[in-house]
């Protein structure tokens, strides 16, 4: 037996929501109820079952657009909280790394990876932003710190590349983990 237009639409919407990394069990149940009501109303107007279901899913909107809008609304407040957290974590890591007694680059790298990874896990829609907001402070802090101490301008492009690469890797790994969790939970 072939799947109905409503079932096909729900599968497609669920896939789009998983791509966005959003848990949306309630929304999916509401959508099923909505489409069933809409198809039933069309049938009452004399439309055949298949056509009624197709009309219902057409009126509901493109699944990609619906999923994106749902994810955007869900993450609107979270976005600003995560951005503030990313900047705070990035500044804290840069400050700790600039201390005279601190010489463990491995721990700094691990902290960058872990911080960006957590942010990507919680907010999988903008991993690049969390990576930039976390990783930019380490290479930005160093020249300022050295200038204050020695009045010399010293730039370290390698540090900038490594810092941003680590935070990008962490944030995208977090995003991938979130998508796997959402897919497993679906």
């Amino acid at each position: 037996m072939s799947a109905s237009a409503i079932d096909r639409y729900l599968s497609c919407l669920a896939a789009e929501l998983r791509k966005q990394g959003v848990f949306a069990a309630r929304f999916m149940e509401e959508t099923r109820g909505h489409l069933t009501d809409a198809a039933a109303a069309a049938q009452q107007r004399g439309v055949a079952l298949d056509a009624a279901q197709q009309e219902a899913v057409r009126r509901f909107g493109d699944p990609k657009t619906v999923a994106r809008r749902f994810a955007a609304e869900k993450n609107r407040t979270l976005h600003w909280i995560l951005l503030a957290a990313a900047v705070t974590l990035g500044l804290a890591i840069a400050w700790v790394d600039s201390r005279p007694h601190w010489d463990d680059a491995g721990i700094t790298a691990g902290l960058l990876l872990l911080s960006a990874g957590l942010l990507g896990l919680v907010g999988p829609r903008r991993p690049w932003l969390w990576a930039l907001a976390t990783g930019v402070w380490l290479p930005a802090w160093m020249p300022v710190h050295i200038f204050v101490q020695t009045h010399r301008i010293v730039l370290d492009p390698l540090l900038a590349c490594v810092s941003l690469a680590l935070s990008m890797a962490g944030a995208y790994a977090g995003m991938a983990l979130r998508r796997m969790i959402v897919a497993a939970a679906a």
């Binding site: 509401e30 959508t31 109820g33 809409a38 909107g61 493109d62 657009t65 619906v66 749902f70 609304e73």
Partner: protein, 107 residues
């Protein structure tokens, strides 16, 4: 009417639709369509993100019901929602008067 045109006013429309009585998502779409004589014909899926947002803001609340044998999420306006609706209605009337005055040239 374009969905983008409605976007800025969606919260007001949803609160106004829920003001007389609680309703589930599909019923809200029908209320908007009927009250606007079919002009507000937005992609229905875009309604739910907005409903969830105003619920998170405490303007509406919802619960599952199965009165008719089918499980539905029914939304109702809260006290905070009614206050917000009254304020938005006042702002909207002032805005509509101002726009009409400019567009129609009414003093």
């Amino acid at each position: 009417m374009q969905a983008e045109t409605l976007k800025g006013h969606l919260d007001l429309l949803l609160l106004a639709a829920l003001e007389p009585r609680p309703a589930h998502g599909y019923a809200i779409v029908e209320i908007l369509r009927q009250r606007s004589s079919g002009a507000f014909d937005l992609p229905e899926g875009t309604l739910y993100p907005a409903l969830h947002r105003i619920e998170a803001a405490g303007l509406v609340a919802s619960r599952w019901t199965d009165d008719t044998g089918r499980r539905r999420r029914v939304y109702h306006i809260t006290v905070k929602g009614r206050r917000s609706l009254a304020r938005r209605q006042t702002e909207w009337r002032a805005f509509a008067r101002a726009v009409q005055g400019v567009v129609e040239g009414i003093a």
